[in-house]
């Protein structure tokens, strides 16, 4: 029997959800575990950084990294794992495009540290601890994995859904690998696989999810919810729209859409209507669009570090 491929799974600035997402594979997970050797997976087995350091270069078949890069230690670890791995996969929205923790890039590092210390937290060693026990230094900004190291593949999602994890594992275990840079999701928009009927009605109101019990069959965007389905890759099975929640874009934009926020602004600007178009409707159109209270957080919930370059702040 050939040796089982060595796999590593590592978390940087994530929430743990990506590690837990493997459980959603159900019994299939047992088959997968029987076919691999776990070289390093802090969430699952007791392995240490020194175990990784002891490995020969490129001796891990594939390392799946989840989480955004936020600390000096995150950066050291991913460089170490890159050196020891044949393939590196950005697993989940954080590693792919910065993810939810990437929204922190709207604040400067000083603002973040001031806020933390104001709440009583200090990035210092515990009382009686050694200097090396101190938390690692915070990077000026959160970054995606590809900002630091070469990334071979991406499994998007927050966290990745079982069908997408299955695509990656199928490729890794069969050895039938796609071209480098492949994103394990569809290139077509989520709307293509969403069961709701979309008539591209005009957008005559903007509602937030808690303000409406949506019709079960009609497209949510047609009902006034800001659904990112038109600009987001499919592959997740449209779990959120099926449950009456608009897509928030966790799988990332389609190759066609490019920057998801600018693509949505283009689309919403075309669709929005407050009565007959013309100067008489301008004020009402503005009020309609004002109901979209946080365009930045809505459009770049998972991808701010990848797309948004903020205005320069003096204290950064």
């Amino acid at each position: 029997m050939p040796p089982r491929p060595r796999i590593a799974v590592y978390w940087t600035g994530g929430c743990g959800g990506c590690d837990v997402s493997f459980l959603e594979l159900g019994p299939a997970l047992l088959d997968v575990l029987a076919q691999i050797e776990i070289a390093f997976w802090p969430a699952l087995v007791d392995t240490k950084r020194s175990d990784v350091e002891a490995l020969a270069p490129r001796s891990i078949a594939a390392t799946l990294v989840n989480g955004t890069l936020r600390t000096e230690e995150n950066v050291e670890m991913v460089h170490l794992l890159r050196e020891k791995s044949e393939l590196v996969v950005a697993f989940g929205a954080c590693a792919y495009q910065g993810g939810v923790p990437g929204l922190a890039n709207l604040a400067t590092r000083d603002e973040i540290l001031r806020r933390m210390s104001g709440n009583g937290f200090r990035p210092s060693p515990p009382p009686g601890g050694e200097a090396e026990d101190a938390p690692p230094g915070l990077l000026p900004q959160a970054k995606s994995l590809a900002d630091e190291i070469t990334v071979d593949y991406v499994v998007p999602g927050c966290p990745p859904m079982p069908p997408l994890i299955g695509l990656l594992l199928g490729a890794l275990l069969s050895g039938d690998l796609p071209a480098p840079g492949h994103v394990f999701a569809h290139d077509k928009a989520l709307c293509e696989e969403c069961p709701r009927t979309r008539e591209e009605r005009k957008l005559t109101k903007v509602v937030r999810p808690h303000e409406l019990v949506p019709d079960p069959n009609v497209c949510l965007l047609d009902q006034g919810m800001i659904c990112l389905g038109p600009v987001t890759r499919g592959g997740c099975g449209a779990a959120c729209p099926k449950a009456g929640m608009p897509c928030t874009g966790c799988v990332g934009p389609t190759p066609n859409a490019g920057d998801p926020g600018l693509a949505m602004i283009s689309a919403l600007g075309s669709l929005a209507r407050a009565g007959e178009e013309g100067p008489g409707a301008f004020a009402a159109e503005d009020r309609l669009l004002d109901a979209l209270v946080d365009p930045l957080g809505t459009f770049y919930k998972y991808s701010l570090p990848a797309y948004v370059r903020t205005g320069k702040r003096s204290d950064r």
């Binding site: 600390t71 000096e72 709207l106 590092r109 540290l113 210390s117 200090r122 990035p123 210092s124 060693p125 009382p127 601890g129 200097a131 101190a134 938390p135 690692p136 230094g137 915070l138 990077l139 000026p140 900004q141 970054k143 900002d147 490019g258 920057d259 926020g261 600018l262 693509a263 602004i265 283009s266 919403l268 600007g269 075309s270 929005a272 178009e277 013309g278 100067p279 301008f282 159109e285 503005d286 669009l289 979209l292 946080d294 365009p295 930045l296 957080g297 459009f299 570090p305 948004v308 370059r309 903020t310 205005g311 320069k312 702040r313 950064r316």
Partner: protein, 154 residues
């Protein structure tokens, strides 16, 4: 060292039917106005994608001007209305990004309004001079991580 005065760089998207013709008229009428704008002629202001505006900023523009036809005059009926809504949303986004929304200016300029084109361009340049150059945050990989603060209570 003497400071060279700041001259804002402007990218101006002008529709060919109205604002573009208005800008030409300003020139042929020999109306003096600041030469800060690089004009880009488009068929309709409705063709100006938010992506282009951001690309202009990323490429070093301090301001972006969009000139379209007056309401009711759009050669394609309603392209200017679509642009107005897009720019309205884009400005909200810019504000959240820490970029002054005043750096984007949408104006209706007809083919006969050479004088208006010159006036709004003057105003825009003055506004951008007040705002100063646009500096976008660049990811600074060389920037060191934050130093560890001194130990609590020691």
């Amino acid at each position: 060292m003497p400071e060279t005065p700041f001259e804002p760089k402007i990218v101006a998207f002008l529709c060919r039917w109205c604002a573009g013709a208005g800008a030409d008229l300003a020139g042929t009428s020999r109306i003096a106005y600041p030469a800060n704008a690089v004009p880009i002629r488009v068929n309709c202001s409705g063709r100006v994608e938010p992506e282009w505006v951001m690309e202009a900023f990323r490429s070093g523009a301090d301001g972006v001007f969009i000139g379209g036809c007056h309401p009711g005059d759009c050669h394609y009926v309603s392209g200017n209305y679509k642009t107005r809504r897009r720019i309205y949303l884009l400005k909200k986004l810019l504000a959240e990004m820490g970029i002054e929304p005043e750096r984007v200016r949408l104006e209706w300029v007809s083919a006969t309004e050479g004088a208006k084109y010159a006036r709004v361009m003057k105003e825009f340049v003055a506004e951008l001079k007040r705002l100063g150059p646009l500096h976008l945050e660049r990811e600074e990989k060389t920037m060191p991580a934050s130093p560890v603060l001194p130990r609590v209570g020691s």
